[in-house]
Amino acid sequence: MTVVLAALCAVFPAAWLAAGQDPEVPPAALEPVREPAAEPASEAAPQELAPVVRYRLDVALTPDADEVYRVIRGSSTVTWRNPTGAATAELYWHVYNNAWAGRDSLWLREARRLGDERLPRAWGGTEITRVRRRSDTDAAEGVDLPWTFVPHPDAPGDRTVLQVLLPEAVPPGGTVTVEMGFVATLPPAFRRSGVGGDYVHAAQWFPKLGVFEERDGVAAWNCEPYHLLTEFYSDFGDYELTLVLPNRYKGRIAASGSMVGDPVETREGDVTYHFAAQRVHDFAWTVDADFLVERRPFLPAEVAERENHATAAARAQGATEAERVAAALGREPEEVAPQPTEMLLFLQPEHAEYRERYFAALEKALYYFQLWYGPYPYETISLVDPAHAAQATGGMEYPRLITGGVSKGRARRSLDPEGVTVHEFGHQYWYGLVANDEFRDAWLDEGLNTFSTQRVLRRAYPPALATYSVLGRDAYGHPLLQAPDFESGDLRALLSLQRLELPRLPLLGEVSLELRRRNPLEAWLAELPEASYLPELRHDAVHDERSAFAADWADPLSRPTFALFAPAMRGVNAYRRPAMTLETMAGLMGEARWTRVMRHFHERWRFGHPRPGDFYAVVEEFGMGAQVGGDTGVAVDWPGFWEQAYFGNDALDFGVSRLVNLPSVLDPQALQRGTADDRWDVILEVRRYGGFRVPVEIEIRWDDGTSSRSVWDGEDWWWRYEVASSPRRAVRAEVDPDRRLLLDRNWLNNTRLAQPQGGRARNLAWRAMLWAEQVLHFYGGAG
């Protein structure tokens, strides 16, 4: 209980303060909260809930002292309904934009602590000019409310959380309306928001209410400050935005809502826009006078036709994907058919070459996400291609608005910008519609979305190929070896003609002379990639998730995102590891069951705030009874799996340790004479090298072309299979032959040939040798 309370206090500032904890004591969130695996959240079915908040934002984009249009002045009027069973007399607000108000913000402190010294090129920040409670009966009346920024123990100067005290508590189900004046200065593009040239990306730009919610029976505000490693969490609500812009932005604005009426030009040369959005939990907008704007309808039938004929997966499957999904769900194909909507692309003129690729990726994403998870409920989806000077705003998701990002010259099969487009659109589902707490459980949206993204890419595109770039153009190929590149201070740098570095000398002091700088053009001339690189390195979109194994897995999935060991762990624990876990679960329970899990989880928690336990509950409900190896196989123990995959940190690794065919003749002379029967004792040994236990299939292929499979429950440390006097020899053995266990850390030990093939090693080595020859030849002429 103490642990739970301490963890709660770390997450909820209000609870922290109420508990009277010493703020110098580090939050106890390092101890993950173990949620009962099968316990769903206690909220009612989220679809039935009315919006919790209503925002009316009246603002204008104005210039700063240097005439850069980056200051948003105005007010927000917020009506909040208390959705819990407990009253509260305070409101907590996120003021994320204050992360850029000075060096003392928690975000920048956490970044420095982890070695990232970068700062915005100019400070931004939000000033609160007034906070008033509006009367329910007379909009003109109101009382000023006391407010203060809540310091964080690690960053006393942080001003990203604002506390407003109400004169009386808001009862359960009651409402309160607060008007807040603010001046938000956006930074030059820095980590998700800001400006670059004429491009303005207003994200996390207005004070936004935290979430008042119940956890384990305790109602408290969940309003984390802006952390380096976390994103956002808010209640669903309705938004109205009135925005005054300089006239040059007319017709070049992307927003999270739908335009209401036509823009109105003012006498001052400005233009006023009205937008509205329902059932969203954030509102972002972007303007750029250079945008090329194009609208296209999303027509599901046409996309379905293309996808059913164009993709290899569809051809191999026989039935269409819609038929497969419908069959898995027990519904008619029409019931799962995607719905039309409108796509808006806001493109940089110099990226005109990507117009069709952006649209195609968006179409494919719209098609498959709707097919798999449910209809996209909004009238539009806007895709923004960020300006060059504001690339830091790319690759982000907001309700109904996503930002992509791509460099010039990208090869078609690099799947760039396709990957980022599909991923950010996917967040409309995982984050947008199913809105988990990204402070604590980032994996629940990023992981589900990475899983979904990679599946869309695998299904809708041929495998991506590795590329290298020279003079801004991509070419396909992958170097097998790397030229030496020594750190500064390493005397060996002279050997590679990079640097001359000598220790401190009496007269000269320290000598550090850069002789030649490695650069891509010289590398291209030296390495001759067309000859010496592997021409085709294929990326299977789903298998690419395994790149997460390159990192050291320091935390279990259950560790709150803001308390992870290192920034690299966010990439692992929020994205690829959960995606691999989901793939493994899908592999263990089969595609039909898995389709049901994902669909029902989405439908149950659409417009809701699920927690990991809610997800697990759906897994258990629809995965129960799944067996590895078919009807006669071994049942999957889902609680055990979840315990290991979510709370545990053990490695999953099965491998074939031995496969031999021993002559089973007892009389060696008969063998020599050739009169012995051709019989073999076949021995196969499989080992579990990690602590993670799960049932697994094992396949043996024989020299007569047949194969046989067995299922091992994976509980013991090893498994042995012996056949005495077999008339056939085993040619290969394979653990997990269908590659269901994406979490298996080492696939190289999953297969074993009875006769190793040295040819492939030679093929690789010849190419490595060719590479070395060319590089040495090039530098043989240098100096």
């Binding site: 090129r121 040239g197 940089q348 110099e350 060059h388 000077a389 690339q391 460099s407 010039k408 801004g472 992958h478 070896l481 790397q482 590149d485 060996r492 050997l495 590679s496 003609l497 002379l513 850069e514 002789l515 700088r517 001339l525 067309e530 000859a531 592997l534 085709e536 390195l537 294929r538 990326h539 298998h543 395994r546 790149s547 194994f549 390159a550 290969r732 080492n746 696939w747 190289l748 999953n750 074993r752 040939l753 190793p756 492939r760 090693a761 093929n763 690789l764 080595a765 010849w766 490595a768 040798m769 060719l770 070395a772 020859e773 060319q774 040495l776 030849h777 043989g780 002429g781 100096g783």
Partner: protein, 351 residues
């Protein structure tokens, strides 16, 4: 020294009393000045000289092969251990790895043998230094061979030239390092940064008004840098040619002479060097295209590709040396030619 006029025209035989190149106007007058021709012809002369040395080519090919083998062997051992016992996945096709590989396979191999890339990269470092230094031997050898003509050339001449000029070239090599460092400083440090700050706000390419502009600036900088590196290399090669032709010793003056020669004969030098590079590029492109078209294994490329490059490098060095010798001879002949009399005739007393 008897030289047939037809042979001299063909450039097949050098009139120079190698290695004692003409040292006086009297020698020059005796042998007669070399005809100064287009740069490409000197490249052709160097090419023929290189092609006539199968022993030298075999030696250099062997050297190229063996030094690359040092890098490839640990790579092969690791591949043999980790990749040869495994089978490909269903649907991935055979794991031949000649032209194509799944990414997961290379990733997991890299994880299992985490030190492989570091080992091979660090193994490359001393080989790079060795390649650069042995390049000096090779330069001296090829220049000697090119200047010897048909009769005097051979493996012995190559090795003799390599040894004779190595330490003189080494001094130019050391000066060359300083020049490379100077070029690097010029392009990437204060001067380069100063120019960059004039082109984009704060000198940060991310802040350029457009990606196109940033790309132009970035590429321009790269091209300028690499072009300057090649220029330094060319000056060094010409300086070395001057050491050979004049049998001189001063590295510093050699560089000055190399630079002067480049400024004096830019077109002919370009004829040797640029055409040489173009031929090399064509050689590489043709072989690679052929290999891809035929889906041929890689090992023939390992043998044939360097052979062409070795020959063409020899042709460039030899061509530069021959050009330098001819230009020097021609210049001297002009300098010491008797002034014509008013009737247009001219004569001179033999020495």
């Amino acid at each position: 020294m008897a030289v047939r006029a037809s042979e001299r025209r063909r450039g097949a035989v050098s009139p120079l009393d190698y290695p004692g190149a003409p040292r006086s106007p009297a020698d020059e007058a005796l042998a007669g000045p070399l005809p100064l021709r287009g740069g490409v012809l000197y490249l052709w002369q160097g090419l023929r000289a290189a092609m006539r040395q199968p022993g030298v080519l075999a030696l250099l090919l062997l050297y190229s092969f063996l030094s690359a083998l040092l890098v490839a062997l640990p790579y092969y051992s690791s591949a043999l251990e980790h990749l040869s016992p495994i089978a490909g996945f269903a649907g991935e096709g055979p794991l031949n790895l000649s032209f194509s590989a799944p990414r997961w396979l290379l990733d997991e191999w890299a994880r299992l043998d985490g030190s492989l890339q570091r080992t091979t990269a660090h193994g490359m470092a001393p080989l790079l230094l060795l390649a650069s230094l042995s390049g000096l031997l090779i330069t001296g050898g090829w220049m000697s061979v090119a200047l010897r003509g048909r009769e005097g050339a051979g493996m012995a001449a190559f090795l003799q030239g390599a040894g004779r000029y190595f330490f003189r070239f080494l001094r130019t090599w050391i000066l060359g390092l300083a020049l490379y460092a100077g070029v690097t400083w010029l392009v990437w440090r204060a001067p380069g940064e100063w120019v960059l700050a004039r082109l984009v706000p704060g000198g940060e390419l991310e802040l350029a008004a457009s990606e196109t502009r940033a790309l132009w600036i970035e590429n321009g900088r790269l091209i300028l840098y690499v072009a300057l590196l090649f220029l330094v290399e060319l000056v060094l090669d010409l300086g070395r040619a001057s050491l050979v032709i004049g049998d001189r010793h001063s590295a510093l003056f050699a560089l000055v002479r190399g630079l002067g020669f480049l400024l004096y004969e830019p077109v002919r030098v370009a004829g040797v060097v640029l055409v040489g590079w173009i031929l090399e590029a064509l050689w590489i492109a043709a072989l690679v295209a052929l290999s891809h078209t035929l889906a041929a294994p890689v090992w023939p490329l390992v043998l044939v590709l360097p052979l062409g490059r070795i020959i063409l490098r020899g042709a460039r060095y030899g061509g530069l040396a021959a050009l330098y010798a001819a230009a020097r001879s021609s210049r001297r002949a002009r300098r010491h030619a008797p002034a014509p009399f008013v009737d247009g005739t001219a004569w001179a007393e033999g020495a």
